[in-house]
């Protein structure tokens, strides 16, 4: 990696990275709602007719494992500092 790219990345880290992670967290909260609506019937909460759930399932499938990790993680207030 060239020196200019390194400098660009350092500046990106200073100015943008915090913003990017914060937006990802907000996006994750919206995704949570979508996941719950889509997979609700599998959890015993029939929010969406199974026809649509099954149509959407292939698109949701790749994210289920990481979503599960994100949802089930224990969180502490000291995690929110950064």
């Amino acid at each position: 990696m060239g020196i200019l790219n390194r400098i660009r990345e350092v500046i990106e880290g200073m100015a943008v990275h915090g913003q990017a992670t914060s937006i990802l967290r907000i996006k994750a909260q919206i995704d949570n709602l979508f996941m719950i609506i889509t997979l609700g019937d599998m959890l015993g909460i029939p929010l969406l007719p199974p026809y649509y759930s099954l149509r959407l399932l292939p698109y949701m499938f790749p994210n289920i494992q990481s979503w599960k990790l994100y949802m089930l993680r224990e969180r502490d207030v000291t995690d929110l500092i950064s």
């Binding site: 990696m1 390194r6 990345e9 350092v10 500046i11 990106e12 880290g13 200073m14 100015a15 943008v16 990275h17 915090g18 913003q19 992670t21 914060s22 937006i23 990802l24 967290r25 907000i26 996006k27 994750a28 990481s66 979503w67 990790l69 994100y70 993680r73 224990e74 502490d76 207030v77 000291t78 995690d79 929110l80 500092i81 950064s82």
Partner: protein
């Protein structure tokens, strides 16, 4: 002798020593104690969720870590220490403190978190020491945040009052930030185009204020009578009455209300609406200002700027003569709150950076490297103070010193650099303290879930009133020592926690335990000293330093109440600190004993 009489050799010596430490001691600790292995999966890879846990380039993380740790601490702390004790003790602590304690804490807290599935300080404390220790840590954090917000608030007030035109220029930065947020998130415009527009707004504000003197209103102390304030001036002979600012005066109250409105907006609105775009737009010019002052310090032999400050001013300041100082140990060690070592860094290291490290071996450049770069910022702050013969107290001294250094180097009129550094200090202070207020709100929501105290509006108003009151009445140097004491005690607790973790893993822990004990004793002594000073002046019914102005305007009871509150805060933090230190030392002894079995 000419070269040695400039700040350059001392700044260069510091940089070289940091480099040697990084290449030798740091690498030894990284390889032998922690045995960082690029092939061992990090939490970012093991628990990948694309939200909090995902691998990020070490350069991006370095930038993020540096931005999160370096704010006003490494700037205001060193210059206050130079003001009271001289530049040599301040320089020595910034260099050697960082070499043997500062980076150790940042790096080790990050590695401890990496080896604990990316957990932050709270859960690790719970895991190693139990629930009571974690609750004490959270309560400690609440008081720490009130004090840190108060001192940053006062620092911003000081700059707004003394560096005319800063407020108007900062308004343009805030406007640029808000518009950037709207352009990117609401109008879905391209980031580059939005950035250019936002920076143009900042530049327009900057040049407008610099070129049109009429815009530089309101003038300093526009709500107070300067001749009345003159009688409280420590440098009565040479001070310009119009450039004075004191706690408790009407102008200070005006700025505190303005700042509180900004804090409130940042705490209760969603992050992308106000706080994050402001950080983005404000930080881009700040990077230039930061680098420029360091370059100007190194090139000071070419500009002919020489050291104007006394090398060693005092080893002991009698509290009855001047309550804003104290004995060089422990006061100097906590006055330089960041730059040498800071507890806030351990929260950042274990908060997000540890969850996004791509390789274990990145922890050293990210954690250790960012701390040593912060040390360079502290060195530049000392250099800025060195070239001033009669510096004002507070952050305005940095603005004045940095202006002297850089305007000479770039050969531009001082007003441009004065305004740039006024904006720089104000924006750096604002963006960090807006985050403190937000974290306080979240911590209160956690501690008082379901209660009125956990409500986001109520908890925000609580911190704004408490911090505003302490900033308004309290003499800022004493509050700064309180902040330094609590901040560095947090660092000591982090170092001791790392020592416990290493002992539990049957690894050598002396390299963090010894600095941890040193910092714990130093900070507890500093907290005890400041509690004594506040208590003494509260009992005597006398104002501390420039609180005299508040006493004269609003009556003696006001500073007295503030001093009683400060003494109570100090006593509480001292007790909490002693309990936590006891828990940690007992934990270390227990784990060491178990490891030997």
């Amino acid at each position: 002798m000419g070269f040695l009489n400039t700040p350059a050799p001392y700044v260069l010596a510091g940089l070289i020593l940091y480099f040697i430490t990084y290449m030798t001691y740091s690498r030894y600790i990284d390889r032998k104690i922690w045995q960082a292995d690029p092939n061992r999966p990090t939490p970012a890879k093991m628990y990948f969720d694309g939200v909090e846990y995902f691998p990020v380039s070490k350069y991006v993380l370095f930038g993020y870590q540096f931005k999160s740790v370096a704010a006003l601490g490494p700037i205001v702390g060193p210059l206050t220490a130079v003001l009271f004790y001289g530049w040599v003790p301040a320089l020595l602590w910034v260099i050697f403190g960082n070499m043997f304690i500062g980076w150790v804490q940042d790096y080790s807290a990050m590695m401890m978190s990496v080896r604990n599935e990316g957990r932050s300080m709270g859960p690790i404390t719970y895991k190693l020491l139990g629930g009571r220790a974690r609750t004490i840590l959270l309560v400690y954090l609440v008081f720490y945040l009130i004090i840190i917000t108060a001192v940053f608030e006062w620092t911003i007030v000081d700059v707004l009052n003394r560096v005319t035109g800063t407020f108007e220029a900062v308004l343009f930065v805030l406007l640029g930030g808000i518009l950037f947020g709207q352009m990117v998130f609401r109008l879905k415009w391209d980031v580059l185009r939005s950035t250019i527009i936002a920076l143009l707004i900042v530049l327009v504000g900057y040049f407008l204020v610099a070129f049109v003197p009429a815009i530089r209103v309101p003038p300093v102390n526009f709500l107070d009578n300067p001749s009345f304030l003159q009688q409280f001036a420590p440098y009565a002979g040479g001070a310009n009455p119009a450039a004075l600012t004191w706690p408790g005066t009407n102008t200070a109250l005006f700025w505190i209300v303005i700042i509180s409105i900004l804090y409130f907006a940042a705490a209760v609105t969603t992050m992308p609406k106000f706080l994050l775009p402001t950080v983005y737009v404000g930080y881009l010019p700040s990077i230039i200002a930061l680098v420029l002052v360091l370059i100007a310090a190194i090139f000071s032999p070419l500009t002919g700027l020489t050291i104007q400050q006394t090398a060693i001013k005092a080893l002991y300041v009698n509290p009855l003569v001047n309550p804003q100082g104290g004995p060089i140990w422990p006061i100097l060690f906590v006055t330089i709150a960041c730059g040498a070592i800071s507890g806030w860094h351990s929260l950042i290291s274990s908060g997000l950076s540890s969850k996004q490290l791509e390789y274990e071996t990145d922890a050293l450049p990210v954690g250790g490297g960012a701390m040593m770069t912060e040390g360079a910022v502290a060195l530049s702050s000392i250099a800025a103070m060195m070239v001033l013969a009669t510096p004002p107290a507070g952050a305005a001294a940095y603005v004045q010193g940095a202006t002297t250094l850089t305007s000479k180097l770039l050969n531009v009129p001082p007003i441009f650099m004065n305004l740039l550094y006024g904006i720089f200090v104000t924006v750096m202070g604002l963006i960090t303290s807006m985050l403190f207020v937000r974290v306080f709100r979240l911590t209160m929501a956690e501690l008082f879930e379901g209660s009125i105290l956990g409500n986001k509006y109520v908890s925000t108003i609580i911190i704004l009133i408490l911090a505003g009151f302490l900033a308004f009445v309290g003499s800022w140097t004493n509050l700064w020592i309180f902040f330094g004491g609590t901040n560095q005690l947090l660092a000591a607790l982090a170092l001791l926690l790392v020592a416990i973790f290493l002992a539990s893993q049957k690894r050598p822990s002396a390299y963090t335990f010894i600095p941890g004990i040193f910092m714990a004793i130093t900070t507890l002594a500093a907290l005890a000293w400041e509690t004594y000073v506040y208590g003494l002046y509260a009992l005597m019914g006398k104002p501390i330093g420039v609180q005299a102005a508040a006493a004269k305007i609003y009556g003696a009871a006001l500073p007295q109440v503030s001093n009683y509150i400060s003494a109570a805060f100090g006593a509480l933090l001292l007790v909490l600190g002693i309990i936590m230190t006891y828990y940690l030392i007992a934990g270390w002894v227990k784990y060491r004993r178990e490891a030997r079995k």
